[in-house]
């Protein structure tokens, strides 16, 4: 490699390096540093090195309860969005013959995203509430004698909101992967005697795995980092790892919140690594 060429490469890479440096490396480094400082009630951060924040968090059973609850939501939402995302994409890619209609339908899926997260979340209240649409309908048709309480301010409503908010993040990457599948492969499979399900299982699914991996990564990071949805939709009755951090911040306990953030970052990175072990996203993307 000649000198000028290497200089050009460096120049081309530099914007990305700068962005990562300022918006990722520096903030994360600061968070890590603060997580090792001491907190004093009513004073704030004291510049003494300590491991107390970490030992406090790891030895506190509440931390484990919060992680359990967050992981539970993550797995449930992952499973549901995966099923929805896969079949919605499958329908758009393989069933809708007309490309214009397919793109039109795809855009329809994005319409809810023209409003803010908060609005999409809050809109569920008049639907699921005690005096909401669902309950009124159930009572009017005689299916339920009195309002069903667990529709709102429950784990159920949290999952409904998550699925509503995050399915698109699963669907888009899967759609993208499926759209690249060569139809000739499917014809060949059918010619070779594969059933409809056999084609899906042996051809479509393996070739969509990049999309699934990327979608899963989106959904996992979104759910694990969430604080607003869980507190609004559960009416404050369920908590997440992030809401634990929020409580720390109420009292300016930045060190403990930072330590909590570092632990969460490590957990999410481990999950991401596992996903990338299963699927070589890089290789698949340049395919």
């Amino acid at each position: 490699m000649s000198e000028p060429r290497s200089f050009t490469t460096q120049l081309q890479v530099s914007p990305l390096v700068l962005v990562l440096l300022f918006f990722f490396v520096i903030p994360v480094t600061l968070v890590v540093i603060v997580s090792f400082l001491r907190y004093q009630m009513l004073v704030g951060i004291v510049p003494d090195f300590t491991l107390k924040n970490y030992t406090d968090i790891l030895s506190n059973p509440t931390t484990w309860t919060l992680y359990r609850s967050t992981l539970k939501f993550t797995l449930i939402v992952l499973a549901i969005t995966l099923v929805l995302g896969f079949w919605l994409s499958y329908f758009l890619v393989f069933h809708v013959r007309n490309l214009t209609i397919a793109i039109g339908l795809f855009l329809l899926c994005t319409i809810p995203f023209w409003t803010s997260n908060i609005i999409r979340m809050i809109s569920w209240r008049p639907i699921l509430g005690r005096e909401g649409l669902v309950n009124e309908a159930l009572q009017a048709t005689g299916i339920a004698a009195k309002p069903i309480d667990w529709l709102l301010y429950s784990d159920f409503s949290v999952v409904v909101a998550y699925v509503n908010l995050f399915t698109l993040f699963m669907m888009v990457p899967i759609f993208n992967s499926m759209a690249r599948i060569d139809r000739a492969l499917m014809e060949a499979a059918i010619d070779a005697g594969a059933t409809r399900w056999g084609v899906i299982w042996n051809v479509v699914l393996p070739l969509s795995k990049t999309g699934i991996a990327l979608g899963a990564l989106f959904v996992i990071t979104l759910v694990m980092g969430d604080f607003a949805v869980v507190s609004v939709m559960s009416g404050g009755l369920s908590a997440s790892v992030t809401s634990g951090m929020f409580n720390d911040l109420q009292f300016l306990n930045y060190p403990r919140a930072a330590a909590n953030a570092v632990i969460l970052l490590i957990v999410v990175l481990l999950i991401a690594t596992a996903i990338f072990r299963l699927v070589d996203v890089r290789k698949e993307l340049v395919r």
Partner: protein
């Protein structure tokens, strides 16, 4: 207490023409150098001053900033933050605030950190007219409850330079008295189905699945302690400063109720409490006074129910940030004096709060409003919110009765307890359970 006589006499500023009339009337400006001794240059420069009033949503209202800007001739802007946000700004970015609208208990952090400067009582107009709740720790001649952080314990500072608190009355204060109120439970009278008379009703099995408590730990724990004590389930030495054991026992009870499905929700923000009540999800809950007004505006019956154990009182103060000096400080003094001169008092009365200068607030209300908000009389015509919507029809009487009746019954004050850090850890458990 040695200085109290002096305060009562009221050491007014010696000038005869107030600074504000100097500002607003051009004729006065022309003559001001002669009358007051103030140089002309002051009156011109103060128009360029921009003051920033920072506080929580319930008291930091854009309308107040607008009124102040009109009346005072210099710009007063309002910025809203949440409780932790205010402390954070005061400590870490003090110059972004000029006048801090703090809750009494927040002074416990802000003052020792040196965020506020002492204000001489001689600079505060009408000090002798301000409520004795703040200035003497009494109400209608009776000692106020000292459970929790009552205003009198934090308003005075030893002297101008010392950032601290003193029990005795001195010539300097940490903050100028602001708005205050006595909080209780909000109920839906049409849905509770029986009389509500005690804090114990918050945890009564009658309201299983239809009760809510506020998720602001320092306030929520007070409501919980009032309820468990009233129900005879727990006792406390001092609800204003509970021990770790008392807190653990209280949180354990809260968790027990949560697991049994007693709480329909824990609310975090003002609007959540309004929605819970207005939609009928909840029929009894912790509530703030303007939230009750907001439910009433929607045409839904909602009562801020007085309870036999008394109220949870709270108060705000306007603190001058320590960086203020010169003309900007003059403007800030001008502003806090204006704040207690009546207009704000009249405005804020309509969302259920009281002014530290009740006399001037009453003068800024119509006879009907004065009767309803302060005197416990039945409304002779519909009562409206600050924004003009009807809240109570003619004939209605304010829940809790008159101003006097209400404040005679404050049992505890909002506070920052010694074990606050422990409380936060415990409250986290309650959230996660």
């Amino acid at each position: 207490m040695t200085n109290s006589k002096e305060h009562k006499k009221g050491k007014r500023p010696s000038m005869k023409v107030s600074r504000r009339s100097v500002l607003t009337g051009t004729a006065a400006v022309a003559g001001s150098t002669l009358v007051t001794g103030f140089p002309m240059v002051w009156a011109q420069n103060i128009r360029d001053v921009k003051l920033n009033h920072t506080g929580m949503s319930y008291s930091t209202l854009a309308d107040i900033g607008k009124m102040a800007t009109e009346d005072l001739g210099f710009e007063v802007s309002m910025s809203v933050v949440d409780h932790p946000g205010l402390l954070n700004r005061m400590v870490n970015d003090p110059t972004s605030i000029d006048v801090a609208d703090i809750e009494i208990w927040q002074s416990k952090i802000a003052v020792p950190q040196g965020a506020l400067q002492g204000v001489a009582i001689s600079e505060i107009k009408n000090w002798d007219k301000l409520t004795t709740l703040y200035t003497q720790g009494t109400f209608n001649g009776k000692e106020m409850s000292r459970e929790g952080d009552s205003p009198i314990e934090f308003v005075y500072r030893p002297d101008k330079e010392t950032n601290g608190f003193t029990e005795g009355m001195t010539d300097f204060v940490n903050f100028v008295p602001g708005v205050y109120n006595a909080d209780t439970l909000g109920i839906r009278p049409d849905l509770v189905g029986r009389e509500i008379t005690t804090w114990a009703d918050l945890i009564s099995p009658d309201f299983k699945g239809r009760a809510a408590i506020q998720n602001v730990p320092t306030n929520g724990i007070m409501d919980a302690m009032m309820a468990f004590e009233a129900a005879g389930q727990l006792t406390y030495g001092d609800k204003g400063n509970p021990t770790q054991d008392e807190l653990s026992a209280t949180i354990a009870k809260l968790i027990e109720l949560k697991r049994a499905g007693h709480w329909r929700a824990l609310w975090n923000t003002f609007d959540e409490s309004v929605n819970l009540m207005a939609s009928g999800e909840v029929v009894i809950q912790s509530m703030w006074s303007p939230a009750v007004t907001a439910v009433q505006v929607q045409g839904t019956p909602c009562v801020y129910q007085p309870l036999k154990e008394g109220y949870r009182g709270w108060g705000n103060g306007l603190g001058l940030m320590s960086h203020l000096d010169g003309i900007k400080r003059d403007a800030a003094i001008e502003y806090v004096n204006w704040y207690n001169e009546g207009k704000v008092g009249g405005f804020i009365a309509k969302q259920g709060y009281y002014s530290s200068n009740p006399e001037s607030a009453m003068a800024n209300l119509t006879e009907n409003e004065r009767g309803f908000f302060y005197e416990g009389k039945a409304a002779t015509a519909p009562i409206t919110s600050p924004t003009g919507e009807e809240t109570n029809p003619a004939g209605a009487v304010r829940d809790g009765g008159s101003y006097e009746e209400r404040f005679a019954k404050v049992a505890v004050w909002n506070n920052l307890m010694d074990e606050a850090e422990f409380l936060y850890a415990k409250w986290n458990e309650f959230n996660a359970a």
